[in-house]
């Protein structure tokens, strides 16, 4: 997508962005001990358009609202959200079952630069639940595989049991036109895969640093170490994109909750070129 098209996509939002629409949970899948995916359909039957990397505000009625990235879409138009239960709202979302209704506002935010990355090598680098916001970008790149150079998916998790979307990773790995590498921080004897951190994977990956776009999502510290490894490998700051998380309320740039330096994560992000936020990412207490 060109910069203008990306801006346009960022501007896509329902008529009244503050009014949640009811969505029904048509399927719910446990991913990890604390992580699950909800498959949602709009009660009003209206189509829902989004770009990879965008997020929705999900309401667990009676508990509150959380920003949750769209983690995929079924051909039937069903939206996927993958949630890690970490507190009040996400715990309540976890307790919901098939047939229950949530409120949804969105989509919001700037997407991954899947159009700008065309004709270049693409590095999709995720840590932990960070694979969820990147999955739509992976789907997009693979659906348009001929438009890209080498495609690398590098993923790190805490232990082998914490690897998100193992079936997807296996399917991507089985393709000859994608390089997939997975590592874990720690493992018990018997694990035949890699033990180490994501920056180690970058050192061993084959890509053309001056002609590549990297999309990175994971805990902030993991992203910082990853960006350092990418820069060490010769990539330019403007070719590295990261997805930031800040507490959100309005998601449309009104309330200031998500302020990050001079920017708002909800409307200027969550996806940022590292050049634009490098300074703020290394400042404490932002």
């Amino acid at each position: 997508m060109t910069a203008t098209a990306e801006n346009r996509a960022a501007a896509v939002a329902p008529a009244d962005p503050m009014v949640p629409r009811p969505f029904r949970i048509v399927r719910r899948q446990r991913e990890l001990s604390d992580t699950f995916t909800m498959e949602l359909t709009a009660e009003d039957g209206q189509p829902f358009d989004f770009r990879p990397g965008q997020f929705n505000m999900l309401y667990a009625f009676g508990a509150g609202v959380s920003a949750i990235s769209i983690s995929g879409e079924k051909s039937s138009g069903r939206l996927l959200h993958t949630v890690r239960a970490v507190g009040t709202v996400t715990d309540r979302l976890q307790a919901l079952r098939k047939g229950d209704v949530v409120g949804l506002r969105g989509p919001f935010g700037r997407p991954w630069p899947v159009d700008r990355a065309r004709r270049r090598d693409v590095l999709i680098i995720a840590g932990g639940i960070g694979l969820a916001p990147l999955r739509p970008a992976i789907h997009h790149v693979l659906a348009n595989r001929g438009d890209y150079g080498r495609v690398l998916i590098l993923y790190g998790a805490r232990t082998p049991d914490d690897i998100l979307f193992p079936k997807d990773l296996k399917a991507w790995r089985s393709r000859f036109d994608v390089f997939v590498d997975v590592t874990v921080d720690r493992a018990a004897p018997g694990w035949a895969g890699k033990i180490g951190v994501v920056p180690d994977l970058i050192e061993r990956a084959a890509f053309s640093a001056e002609d590549a776009t990297a999309m990175v999502c994971g805990p902030e510290v993991m992203m910082l170490f990853t960006v350092r490894a990418l820069l060490r490998a010769g990539m330019a700051e403007e070719d590295v994109y990261v997805s930031m998380e800040r507490n959100m309320k309005c998601a449309v740039g009104f309330c200031g909750h998500c302020q990050f330096g001079g920017r708002f994560v909800c409307k200027d992000g969550p996806v940022f070129a590292y050049t634009d936020i490098a300074h703020h990412m290394t400042v404490r207490e932002l």
């Binding site: 180490g196 050192e203 510290v221």
Partner: protein
């Protein structure tokens, strides 16, 4: 001589020595030996004399720490292009962990006594060798710190 030429070529193919001058590489090839390990072979044992370091050419090596009466703790894995075993540089020159092949591993070892002799005779060579090792050690330390931070762990 033929063997040294072959080892010098193997060193050139490995990222650790890829950018070295032919002269130094040929000189160090005199300290090198080619190895093949099968799955589950121990390449080094914790506490044993660290008389060499290894360049991995193929396969996976797991570094693990033996815990009496329990399963070993897996520390990290190394792969093609990896280097392990800097205990040869640091007194008392003993391995700090076990190194085990998890599959067929091809590696080149560099003999420590031979290396020390050559570095003592040519300090520039010693400096180059240390200069090559230090960034690798720094990155390994950085990776260890990142894992200590347990970034994927629960927030509660």
């Amino acid at each position: 001589m033929v063997e040294i030429d072959g080892l010098s070529k193997l060193l050139k193919e490995h990222p650790f020595f890829a950018d070295w001058s032919d002269d130094y590489r040929d000189l160090l090839a005199g300290c090198a030996a080619n190895h093949r390990f099968d799955a589950n072979d121990y390449i080094a044992r914790e506490g044993q004399p660290a008389d060499k370091f290894f360049l991995v050419r193929h396969g996976t090596v797991v570094l693990e720490y033996p815990v009496p009466g329990r399963e070993p703790v897996l520390l990290e894995t190394l792969h093609e292009g990896g280097v392990f075993g800097w205990s040869w540089m640091i007194a008392p020159y003993r391995w700090a962990f076990d190194a085990r092949a998890t599959e067929l591993v091809r590696a080149v070892s560099m003999d420590a006594t031979c290396l020390r002799g050559k570095c003592d005779a040519d300090h520039t060579l010693g400096y180059e060798l240390f200069r090559q090792f230090i960034p690798i050690m720094a990155r390994r330390l950085e990776a260890t710190r990142l894992r200590l931070l347990d970034v994927y762990g629960s927030t509660r």
